[in-house]
Amino acid sequence: MTLSILHRVTGVALSVGLIVLTIWLVALSTGAAAYEQITALMQSIVGRLLLAGFSFAFFFHLCNGVRHLFWDVGKGFEMRQANASAWSVVLATSVLTLGLWLAL
């Protein structure tokens, strides 16, 4: 139940992330100076916190999205299955988000 609204919240957050990604791409196409300005912003404390948030939103939306696709083909509607898949999403999101930031 909680995950359902979180899917929308992370989706909207990722739409904001799309703006950041687009700015990054445009800066990359503009030249070295513009690109370095953007990466400097991203490496600031606020930038890192934002990127951490976006990475969590991305992994959650991806994992929970797969769950939704299974529902769309009619699988996993039993309460037991839905609870199991919910916890799988929480676990996978945590592992992927932590793994990404440990790998960096």
Binding site: R8, G11, V12, L14, S15, L18, I19, L21, T22, L25, V26, L28, S29, G31, A32, Y35, E36, T39, F58, L62, G65, V66, H68, L69, D72, L100, A103, L104
Partner: protein, 127 residues
């Protein structure tokens, strides 16, 4: 007395409207993004560093440029469809709802154009 026929007055007033094509497009872009976004993230992580020369050389290789174009376009489309549902569900009042939908559409088209242009510029500018 109206010139519109009874059929003409009711056509398109059902609840579904463009619902099924929206639903289908949202799922298709979701599946595509499952692959594209994973490719993007892994590719970025596999780069030696995130310096300008490294990243622009990577983005300028035809294979990467093509996938980046698809990623940018699909992201903008999927985001547009998702934000539209959120607006339709939570923004009430016909005027503000239509205004929000129009602004969302314009923004997403701008993001798609900017992203695609940037990738093309990098790709065509690459040696």
């Amino acid at each position: 007395m109206s010139l519109r026929s009874p059929l003409g007055r009711v056509l398109g007033l059902g609840s579904a409207k463009e619902g099924s094509s929206h639903w289908w497009a949202q799922r298709m872009t979701a599946v595509a993004l499952g692959f594209l976004s994973t490719w993007f993230l892994i590719s970025i992580l596999l780069l030696d560093n995130l310096q300008f020369t490294t990243v622009s050389a990577w983005a300028g290789r035809p294979f990467n440029s093509i996938l980046l174009l698809l990623t940018t376009a699909t992201l903008a489309y999927h985001s547009k469809l998702g934000v539209q549902v959120v607006i339709e569900d939570y923004v009430h009042g016909p005027a503000i709802k239509v205004f929000s939908l129009v602004m969302s559409n314009f923004t997403h088209i701008l993001l798609a154009a900017a992203g695609l242009f940037a990738v093309l510029k990098i790709g065509f500018g690459a040696p």
